[in-house]
Amino acid sequence: MIQKGDAKQSEKIVVQVDAELEDIVPVFLENRCGDIKAMSLALEQSDYETVRILGHTMKGVGGGYGFDAITDMGQSIEQAAKKKDSEEIRKLKGELSTYLERVEVVFE
């Protein structure tokens, strides 16, 4: 898996993913959009346990699909939730959102 481009916010992030996973990657990415919504809701209610679980799950699944960056972000979200650091969680949520907007998957 190769991830390119980090310099500009508008640049695409190209991720090469095994063609065997072509059918399930769209669901995976959609679920991450769902995670952002769930995280926003949990943050409003200061429900850090839900945020921690969301981060933990992201950490455990991203790399398997070829998205190492999602595993890394998940780990950071989990850590921030443990510290109840809402500012950091918001920042990471923004990073995840930008990543999902910029990511371009190439199956090979």
């Binding site: 059918d23 399930i24 933990h56 799950t57 455990g60 699944v61 790399g63 398997g64 699909y65 595993t71």
Partner: protein, 177 residues
């Protein structure tokens, strides 16, 4: 190495290699012992038998991923969305291997594994390999899964090669039986 192979190999050696071979034979040079050849692993799914696998995993993403990894294998994969369902399915079914997520709702993987081991003990049946799947990489988490009765532990994210190797390793003895 057979004597015949040794002779053929020496014939094909260069001068420095020949010197090394002779000094080794005379005990003048120490050479590393040959590595024992590893047990041949099946190279294709056709070489493998149809395993019955129980996958206990609450995350839809991970279920889809593991099912996708195994779709070309001659395995039957049953799904349990939590530990409670995993125990029920294990007791009513027959499995060669269990892939057990640790963090699940209702009943976690540790509790489910303990219940399975207890049931196996009561029924006096041999222990089915249970591979714990966790997103924790800490040594204490690995020890906790082993203490609960898991046979092995894999850290998420799970890569295909790692999973296939673990399945092979923990079902090999039953294949040989």
């Amino acid at each position: 190495m057979s004597k015949r192979r040794s002779a053929i190999q020496i014939m094909a050696l260069g001068r420095s290699e020949l010197f090394l071979a002779i000094s080794s034979a005379l005990g003048l040079t120490k050479v590393d012992a040959e590595e024992p050849s590893p047990v041949a692993k099946p190279t294709t799914f056709e070489d493998q038998r149809a395993l019955r696998i129980l996958l206990a995993e609450d995350s839809q993403d991970n279920r889809l991923l593991i099912q996708s990894y195994l779709k070309k294998a001659p395995y039957r994969v049953d799904i349990a969305e939590n530990g409670e369902i995993a125990v029920e399915k294990f007791i009513s079914g027959e499995y060669d291997l269990v892939l057990m997520d640790v963090q699940m709702p209702k009943m976690d993987g540790y509790a489910a594994t303990k219940m399975i081991r207890k049931w196996e003990g009561e029924q006096r049946v041999s222990a089915t390999p249970i591979i714990a799947l966790t997103a924790h990489a800490l040594q204490e988490d690995i020890l906790m899964s082993l203490d609960a009765g898991c046979t092995a532990h894999l850290t998420k994210p799970i890569m295909k090669a790692t999973l296939m190797e673990a399945i092979y390793e923990h079902t090999e003895s039953s294949v040989m039986a």
